[in-house]
Amino acid sequence: MGELPNSRPGGAVSSTEREEDAALARRAGSGEAEAFGVLYDRYVAAVYRYVFYRVRNEAEAEDVTSEVFMRALRAIPRYEPRQAFLAWLYRIARNAVIDRSRRQAARQQVSFEDALAHPNADRVVNPDAGLLAGSDASVVRRAMQQLTPLQQEILVLRYVEGFDTKTISKLVGKRDGTIRGIEFRALGALRALIPSREHL
């Protein structure tokens, strides 16, 4: 699958922004609170969106977003600039989402293998057909919560943030081809889950 036809411009973090982020993070790590504030202003919306589709509702999205930035504040003295700041935040967010999901006894997260075991799993079709088109976002969100955390992450970065797979590979720390494979399987699993569970 190639680049998204409607990829949002400016989705990727430029090298200049990355250098600025690293400088701000260094200043924040050495005690300059306002530098952290600038980083917060820059990325709070991205973190919120990253979380939004992976939790049940917007109140949880706000809770997790708060937790992510509180964790980031405490951890920033140890931030390693060789990793993009946004990727570092996403990593914290990923852990926060996982931690929350484990605390929620009522919530059951099935693995990709479980998703494939679904009776309708053989409906996997070409993801280029536009699985998300015409689907209610809340329905998609509920279905996404049954994917693995990595599948969720990649779909959000791809279909909410509009990153291309090359950028996602840098953010997630996996090879481009691996990202494409995970995306393909995630879309397939979603396709199996949405019509059967939501009767679309």
């Binding site: 998204l4 036809p5 409607n6 924040a28 790590g29 050495s30 005690g31 609170a33 504030g37 917060y40 202003d41 709070v44 919306a45 969106r49 939004f52 589709y53 049940r56 509702n57 917007e58 109140a59 949880e60 999205a61 706000e62 809770d63 977003t65 708060s66 937790e67 930035f69 509180m70 964790r71 504040l73 405490r74 951890a75 140890r78 390693e80 060789r82 990793q83 990727a87 570092w88 990593r91 914290i92 996982i98 931690d99 484990r102 605390r103 536009g130 998300l132 088109a133 209610d136 976002a137 809340s138 998609v140 969100r141 509920r142 279909y159 909410v160 943030e161 509009g162 720390g173 090879r175």
Partner: protein, 258 residues
């Protein structure tokens, strides 16, 4: 609707309140960390420790050699001995955890160097890395499991290990892309060890991880969703893209202010 999902934006009130909370807490959180060395300021122990450290290195005559050594080298023992001295001098559990985290960082750096410059040393370096991670995680688990450990200490311990996990994962992922094929197996093992640093992946020795107070909830400008909201998730697709997508029939109380 295109094949993209709507891009929900956080509420302005939420963003402002969270920013205010972060800025209020930042001075305390970002305050210069107290080190063992700074704790010894003014103490008779400080010159004694300095003397002992210098004597150790000079007597060995291998300060730089020790610093540059890799696991398996003779001088490596000197380096780890110095680390043991530091650990023995740790004044509290938190300092000890940070030292163990630093030790794991050092072993990771050595592993990285071994893989790129001296592959023959990589297996030993991997063993040393695994041992350092095990010591670190054992200390974290022990601290979390002790009934007299305060919630603040538990939170600090989890922050230290979370930060280490993120860092190690990033370093190993980067290394994986450049390491020669023969090193990939060892790297895979190192990554498995690094995964053990994710505090949530290991059951705490405490009865329930969820028993710990959520460190960021109380001071945050957000609150648990009321049941009605939980039962009726917002339909994001009903919201205009780029606008404020989060609106429900339930009036949303203003976030608490710092």
């Amino acid at each position: 609707m295109s094949d993209m999902l709507p891009r929900p934006e956080p509420r302005d009130a939420f963003k402002r309140a969270l920013r205010a909370q972060l800025m209020a807490q930042a001075p305390g959180v970002l305050a210069r960390r107290e080190t063992v060395w700074s704790r010894l300021q003014g103490s008779w122990l400080r010159p004694a420790v300095a003397f002992a450290a210098v004597a150790l290195l000079v007597a060995g005559g291998a300060g730089k050699a020790a610093a540059d050594s890799l696991p398996g080298d003779i001088a490596f023992g000197l380096k780890t001995a110095a680390e043991q001295v530091q650990l023995a001098l740790a004044l509290d559990d938190t300092s000890r955890l940070r030292l163990l985290s630093d030790e794991a960082d050092h072993r990771l750096a050595e592993l990285s160097r071994a893989i790129t410059t001296r592959p023959a040393a990589a297996p030993t370096a991997t063993d040393e890395y695994a041992a350092a991670v095990a010591r670190f995680t054992a200390a974290v688990d022990a601290l979390r499991g002790r009934p007299d450990t305060s919630a603040d200490k538990k939170t600090t311990a989890e922050d230290v290990v979370d930060a280490a996990h993120a860092k190690h994962e990033a370093v190993l992922d980067a290394l994986e892309k450049t390491a020669p094929a023969e090193a990939q197996k060892g790297l895979e093992r190192a990554k498995q060890e690094a995964d053990k640093l994710h505090v949530s992946d290991r059951p705490a020795r405490t009865p329930e991880r969820s028993d710990r107070p959520e460190p960021t909830r109380s001071p945050q400008p957000t609150r648990t969703a009321p049941p009605a909201r939980t039962a009726e998730p917002t339909r994001a697709s009903e919201q205009p893209r780029g606008g404020e997508p989060i609106r429900t029939a339930t009036p949303r109380p203003s976030p608490s202010r710092p």
